[in-house]
Subunit: 593 residues, 2 copies
Amino acid sequence: MNNRILAGTLRSWNIDQKVLLKGWVQKRRDLGGLIFIDLRDKSGLVQVVFNPSSKEALETAESVRSEFVVEIIGRVVKRDEATVNDTMETGSIEVVAEEITILNKAKNPPFQIQDETDVSEDLRLKYRYLDLRRRDLQNTFKLRHQTTQAVRNYLNEDGYLEMETPILTKSTPEGARDYLVPSRVHSGEFYALPQSPQLFKQLIMMSGFEKYYQIARCFRDEDLRADRQPEFTQIDIETSFMSSDDIMEMTEKMMQRVMKEVKNIDIQLPLQRMKYDEAMARFGSDKPDTRFAMELIHVSDILKDSSFKVFKGALESGGKVCLLNVKNEAANFSRKDIDKLTDFVKVYGAKGLAWLKVENGEVKGPIAKFLSDVEVAGIVDRANAADGDLLLFGADKTGVVYDSLGALRLKLGKELELIDEAKFNFLWVTDWPLFEYDEDAKRYFAAHHPFTMPAEEDLDKLSTDPGSVRAIAYDLVLNGYELGGGSLRIYKREQQDKMFNVLGFTKAEAEEQFGFLLDALEYGAPPHGGIALGLDRIVMLLAGRTNLRDTILFPKTASASDLLTDAPSEVSTDQLKELSINVLEKYTENREL
Amino acid sequence: MNNRILAGTLRSWNIDQKVLLKGWVQKRRDLGGLIFIDLRDKSGLVQVVFNPSSKEALETAESVRSEFVVEIIGRVVKRDEATVNDTMETGSIEVVAEEITILNKAKNPPFQIQDETDVSEDLRLKYRYLDLRRRDLQNTFKLRHQTTQAVRNYLNEDGYLEMETPILTKSTPEGARDYLVPSRVHSGEFYALPQSPQLFKQLIMMSGFEKYYQIARCFRDEDLRADRQPEFTQIDIETSFMSSDDIMEMTEKMMQRVMKEVKNIDIQLPLQRMKYDEAMARFGSDKPDTRFAMELIHVSDILKDSSFKVFKGALESGGKVCLLNVKNEAANFSRKDIDKLTDFVKVYGAKGLAWLKVENGEVKGPIAKFLSDVEVAGIVDRANAADGDLLLFGADKTGVVYDSLGALRLKLGKELELIDEAKFNFLWVTDWPLFEYDEDAKRYFAAHHPFTMPAEEDLDKLSTDPGSVRAIAYDLVLNGYELGGGSLRIYKREQQDKMFNVLGFTKAEAEEQFGFLLDALEYGAPPHGGIALGLDRIVMLLAGRTNLRDTILFPKTASASDLLTDAPSEVSTDQLKELSINVLEKYTENREL
């Protein structure tokens, strides 16, 4: 027998066929002189029975254990009605074994290969090759493959060329922290791993290619949070001669294709668009989860003459008062519960959490006595508050109100199960600020990156009032997660010079770091723009997962370690010598101890 | 007008259409009150005429220069018979401009954007974005895109999953030199950039995925030759449960698909196979160019009793005497010409180059007098030598004879134009030696890598006579270039232990460097194997180019510099401090000077 058949593909139409199977022993059970093996391969599982009519096979089967790799020849038979297993795709048949060969043995694995697992993530990462044998991870990486191919199919058909940009590049300190690579040939000099192919994709436009994409590996040496990895993958796209509307339209058609091919879900185009200011005001977030309402309700105007010192103070210092109306939950939130919510918003800089309940036609709560009847009536009316509603207030600087109520909204949305988890709500957030002001550094930073095009109507404010300048930039949001974003880019030298000037670069500094780009702008750079979407996060959301590490084949921990291979690790002094570098003494000292 | 049309797509069927074009000014000519512009975009060129009927456009057109980016509205017209240009695809029509807008200006480029260029490569690399505008480079990267997609299409249809392996990995000093990346979080420790995804793709098999591929970036910090780059791309494939024949068959079907989709050439399968020993003996090369004959002719047996001391010495020390018969070239090679060939073979370790000419039925040459009539007759007969033939001898250790005559064969094949450049000759070279002995290190090294499976019949010689053990390994050769190779891998722990033992690893050393793989072999590793093919080189051969740098978008020089961005470069001391490393003092000292 030569032609292996995949275990999980066997069905009733294979009955009476003699088959060759290869795979892993998922489970072995001995039952009344018979041995049952669930055989697993990449396609799924099938039950194999060993009986005394094939004595040698039965004997060998006795010695197999979980995760042994075996080759089995047998015949497909119909199962007895009583033993049909509807939870298995192959559950109507089984294979009666005639021969079995053990291809490789397996020690008892440190944890069982099954989907429901409560094993520590560290152990799973150390034995990643066992963890990855679980069906749900197998499926996640199939989905990742499908997603990538759907993206490629769309872009290929639309005339984009897939192109590769360098991994060994130049360090540009503006932005996140670079991973550095010492050069052996040029002693004392370093390459940097790219945080994104941003500059190269712009150079590709200046090279006349017009339509570029890459499924690109990117690197950031940042302190990691749950949804960050030192290396991640983005769908990186750049085009020439297209408007921001063109680019958004192309992107949403691509996502439509992905949703159809991967999830068989039709999404309606055009996707909803919302300006950054509106997103912040309505949802307290620049990446609103629009699967549920409970928007921020603005009541500053109603409270403009309030004597309540918390509201008064916030408004007098130029801040805002907003509230969330938690419908029908007044009775379910004790004072203690609300204290917990107060602790929660404090993380976002709020000093407290004022609240009111509407009960039996009355508005109650510790702050009620500080509010006038007119103010209460105004709030009730604006909030559309009815009996049983709980009103939670934010009163502070605008940023604090948005951040805290935005986060509180999400928390309550999840806890109160207001979110339809089957929904995929895409949203464009547009008209972003071009700059962010950093109070510590006392200077403006590029909100996106220094190559983003300012809105034409704001050009005259670039030097005079940078904080008010909008960018021609757009972020794509899905269910409250930022999938990625893009912008039109500056393509004229004078404008790029001005931009660096606002960012506090001297001419020499700009030239030193970005001279090659500035030069390129002077040799016929076309109008261009693009977008980059996080592939890992898209896969996470499409696979219905919550941990980004489950979407990356060999992920790193929060301290950027690979627990499987034990990277990073020490290297030989010879290696360092060749690179003309030393490890600082205190670390080599520690090492000797 | 909103819908831009691509310049190079305009044909006679567009006549009378009003069109919107965007692109670069390739050339401007003024002629009798008219201005002609060749407008270039990613699709090609079209001629645009400005005449006095659109006065404003004519005036603007006067100010444009080469590489200006412009937008033109005009009408497509038939060209006069006299001005039809058959060398241009759009040569039967031209566009009469009505409006022109300058989108961006361009300084006078440092070299002209044209296919035939004698500009220095350094200047082209510094202004890579200009160089890439040339039609032949544009076409090369289109071909690269097509090649990649053809590979993906084939593998996707065959059930392979595209998967991403880490770039930040563990340093494993066995093999070429690693690029290292200092870790900030784990002071004194380093990641390494992968020389190939070898270990990870084996772990993917141990994870039960069975069919993996990746268009993978790889890194080697080696001193560069013309056809090497510090980062390069390989088509990386691994499968479980397949034989070496299966893998070769899959690979050649994939290459058949590539040749069809990219070059529209049908290649016949199965591809020719040749054992390593045969390739060396017949062509003096482990990657023979089979587009022409002129094989090595073995004459050691004929000369076994020769008194000529060069031949005698070679044979007595266990070496060989071989020759090339350069047909009909005796008259064209003067003694001086042959001296040059002698210098050439000396590079390969040969001490000289004995030769004979057959002229007027006589065998002549400085060594003729040292050979007996029987020997001469034997040589003439074996070499099938006829009047006008030149015989070039190699007599030395076998390796030197093969290397020098193999190289000489290639040189003469090119210079004498014996090679049909239109041919694509694929060839499998199989049955490689498993080990190479290093005289300096006095130990065996893995010829391929330490995970290669030995041939079953040679297993018992693994400890006793490693030099004679063959590997289950195969290389794919095209026109004398190695496209890549693969092997079955060791999948049993005991065998891998033995392998490391032969390679001189202590148990502790093997455990320290490859412990994770050794562990994985004990938890149900399936039989597996794969292949890796160099994408850059495939593209080079398919595009008919000779310089690997022309196939890489932003390549590095022989000293691993990126002349465009000026990488590598110095970084700030703050950056180094965060990474807990120092540049060795002598280099920082030099820097201050």
